[in-house]
């Protein structure tokens, strides 16, 4: 009847319970399957086994400083928009041991020998994959390649999901990062009511899917899925004009708007924690009480931390205004000459998770208005 040979680029329909078997296969192949999970009234990215661990029938509703979940009761698993966590915690862990130094007469180094986990990320949105691609540019450079990131990234399996219900804080279309996945995934799902439409993105994805019970999609299903993603693209909650970035920000370091926004900003670092592209880190020493053994760790840091720019002779960014300006003029400004692209993927997390609801789309628009007047 129909040719059921899979190839990279094929699109098939998969009954939803097949996903459980797919994840089990991944685990058999040495992957830790991690994905969204309802926990403590929020959605976190953690170890999941299958559909039963996914947030079933959950729709999200986001506003500045607000993330709410709505129970739809439907048998759908990916209607929500991700919450504060992003996948960067798996490639760029918030804490990671580097080495231990012990003093036995002389100092001796003991390297960290923990094996690198292999992750299968389940449910990666287009903005999130764009963020991973941006972090690839940061952590995997010709002159410097972060070994922790590199090893985790090399073993990564990505099960992507196309967003169908963007929230009010989403603006991936403005940043050119979504809602539809284009490339860079192993498998990509578009969720229908009864089935998943699955696109094969890589040989690895193909070989895993080949063992599942799938079907060729009808034209109706294909069209419905396509239209659903297009509808999503048209219902973005927010919009950012990027045509004059980065110059709009890097040429206006003296804008009044920096004073305005700094009166609201608490310098709490939330935005940098939830942002899937922020990459600053620090290294700390945990020394034992006798001073004979110390464990050096790499930990996340934030340019909003008051001592982030501390040098002998003072702090080069001693107030909130200078720190907020640094964050935004980096993210939507100097990131481009550094890495070739802007640093924002339009996920909207910084807007939702800012306790005072600062909205970077609004800030950029306000600076533009101020500069033009």
């Amino acid at each position: 009847m129909t040719d059921k040979t899979l190839s990279v680029g094929s699109t098939v329909t998969l009954p939803k319970p097949e996903l459980d078997l797919l994840l089990a296969d991944l685990r058999k192949n040495g992957y830790q399957t991690v994905g969204p999970h309802l926990q403590n009234e929020s959605i976190v990215y953690t170890k999941i086994d299958g559909l039963k661990d996914l947030p079933r029938g959950i729709l999200s509703d986001q506003k500045p400083a607000s993330y709410r979940m709505i129970q739809t009761g439907r048998d759908r698993y990916f209607d929500f928009i991700p919450a504060n966590q992003s996948w960067k915690q798996f490639l760029f862990p918030p804490r990671h041991p580097l080495f231990t130094a012990v003093k036995e007469g002389k100092w001796r180094l003991i390297e960290n020998e923990e094996p690198t986990p292999r992750y299968a990320l389940i449910g990666v949105r287009a903005c999130e994959l764009a963020a991973i691609n941006i972090q690839d540019r940061i952590f995997l450079r010709e002159d410097f390649s972060d070994p922790i990131y590199r090893l985790r990234r090399a073993g990564l399996f990505i099960l992507a999901v196309n967003c169908l219900d963007p929230d009010a804080t989403c603006f991936c279309v403005s940043m050119g990062t979504g809602p539809r996945h284009v490339a860079g995934f192993d498998l990509c799902l578009t969720e229908m009511d009864e089935v998943f439409l699955v696109e094969v993105g890589s040989e690895l994805g193909r070989s895993l899917l080949a063992d599942r019970t799938f079907d060729l999609p009808s034209a109706f299903v294909q069209t419905a899925a396509s239209q659903a993603v297009e509808r999503a693209a048209r219902s973005m909650g927010r919009f950012m004009d990027t045509s004059d970035l980065p110059d709009l920000l890097t040429n206006n370091l003296d804008a009044q708007r920096w004073d305005v926004v700094s009166k609201r900003c608490l310098s709490c670092t939330n935005c940098t924690l939830v942002c899937p592209t922020c990459f600053c880190w620090d290294a700390t020493d945990q020394v034992d009480i006798l001073g004979k053994s110390t464990r050096r760790e790499r930990v996340w840091d934030s340019c909003f931390n008051p001592n982030y720019s501390f040098v002998v002779g003072g702090n080069t960014r001693p107030n909130i205004r200078s720190r907020y300006r640094q964050w935004l003029t980096h993210k939507l400004g100097t990131w481009k000459p550094q890495f070739g692209v802007l640093g924002c993927v339009g996920c909207g997390r910084c807007i939702t998770w800012c306790p005072v609801g600062i909205d970077i789309t609004e800030e950029v628009a306000a600076i533009r208005v101020e500069v033009k007047s």
Binding site: L98, F99, A101, K103, K106, W107, L109, E111, I138, F139, R141, D143, F144, S145, D146, P147, I148, T250, L253, D254, F279, C280, W281, D282, A283, T284, D285, V287, G291, T294, R296, R298, D301, C303, Y308, S309, F310, V311, V312, G313, T316, R317, P318, N319, R321, S322, R325, Q326, H330, T334, P337, Q338
Partner: protein
């Protein structure tokens, strides 16, 4: 992209595969300098690492005191003068540098590096060079001075302007005679002097009021407190020295030294890898922005 004038230096004699892993180096000599400042001579405990270690004046190492942390310290000599030893002149003001001040000959620290860009000693050949520095800004230039002296005929008039707070804070005073003998016009000034000081009292930038420079063939190398550098640059630009002939060494909070952790950024640059030595042309738009 504004960094076309900058060559990012190849860095890290050492591990490229391991994050932040240092090589151990032993303290071979400690020379007390001015108050709160000492010069340390280090040698890697691994002879192979020691043999292959290379750096250019202007670059820096990350010095690691286990249990304490790392500090970015410029090299204050060059390899030929130091006989291959790593020479660091350290001002003991922070946690790590104070911990280093408590170490003795034979003690060991971790070293990663060298990192960063170096003084453009090739690019300024044939030119008159004004080296303007102050306080702890002289050590990062001392290696460049040694190199220039060794290659003296290749440069034009060399002027060394050096300022410190008081006569007691002057760095390396025993070397000034040798430098003057090597045909370097050295002008020392202090912020304030006492009865016994017969040298200049004033500030480094004011030298420009008294001497003429030919802007076409003069290069300026400057390192020191940012305020001093700002005025040196101002005076140099006022005398029409082109901004790509003025080189500055910037200091920022450095943690990784490799342009990865984000701390040392100013504008689009990672000071640790795109600098610390910059032609001023690359910094024109961001240098004087308050708190940037």
């Amino acid at each position: 992209m504004t960094t076309t004038l900058i060559d990012t230096a190849a860095h890290s004699a050492g591990y490229t595969d391991k994050l932040l892993l240092p090589h151990w180096a032993e303290i071979v000599k400690i020379i007390p300098e001015a108050e709160g400042v000492s010069t340390f001579h280090f040698k890697f405990t691994d002879l192979e690492v020691q043999a292959r270690y290379r750096f250019e004046p202007g670059q820096f190492n990350m010095l690691y005191v286990p249990g304490c942390g790392e500090a970015a310290i410029s090299m204050s000599s060059d390899l030929e003068t130091s006989g291959g030893l790593l020479v660091h002149t350290i001002r003991h003001v922070g946690n790590v540098t104070r911990a280093i001040s408590r170490l003795k000959v034979g003690d060991v620290v971790g070293i990663r590096g060298p990192f960063g860009t170096s003084w453009p000693l090739d690019a300024i050949r044939g030119m008159d060079v004004v080296i303007a520095c102050g306080g702890i800004g002289l050590p990062p230039l001392r290696g460049a001075i040694y190199r220039i002296i060794r290659d003296r005929a290749r440069y034009g008039k060399i002027t060394l302007l050096y300022g410190a707070r008081t006569p007691r804070d002057l760095m390396f005073p025993v070397e000034y005679e040798a430098w003057k003998k090597a045909d370097i016009d050295m002008q020392v000034t202090v912020d304030r002097g006492d009865d016994s000081w017969t040298g200049r009292v004033g500030v480094v930038p004011m030298w420009f009021y008294h001497f003429r420079v030919d802007p076409h063939k003069t290069a300026v190398l400057t390192c020191g407190p940012e305020i001093m550098m700002r005025f040196v640059i101002y005076e140099a630009l006022a005398r029409r020295i082109p901004s790509d002939q003025i080189y500055v060494s910037l200091e920022r909070n450095m943690k990784c030294g490799q342009g990865a952790c984000g701390h040392c950024q100013q504008g689009p640059y990672f000071i640790c890898k795109d600098g610390p030595v910059f032609p001023f042309r690359a910094l024109e738009n961001i240098f004087n922005v308050e708190e940037y």
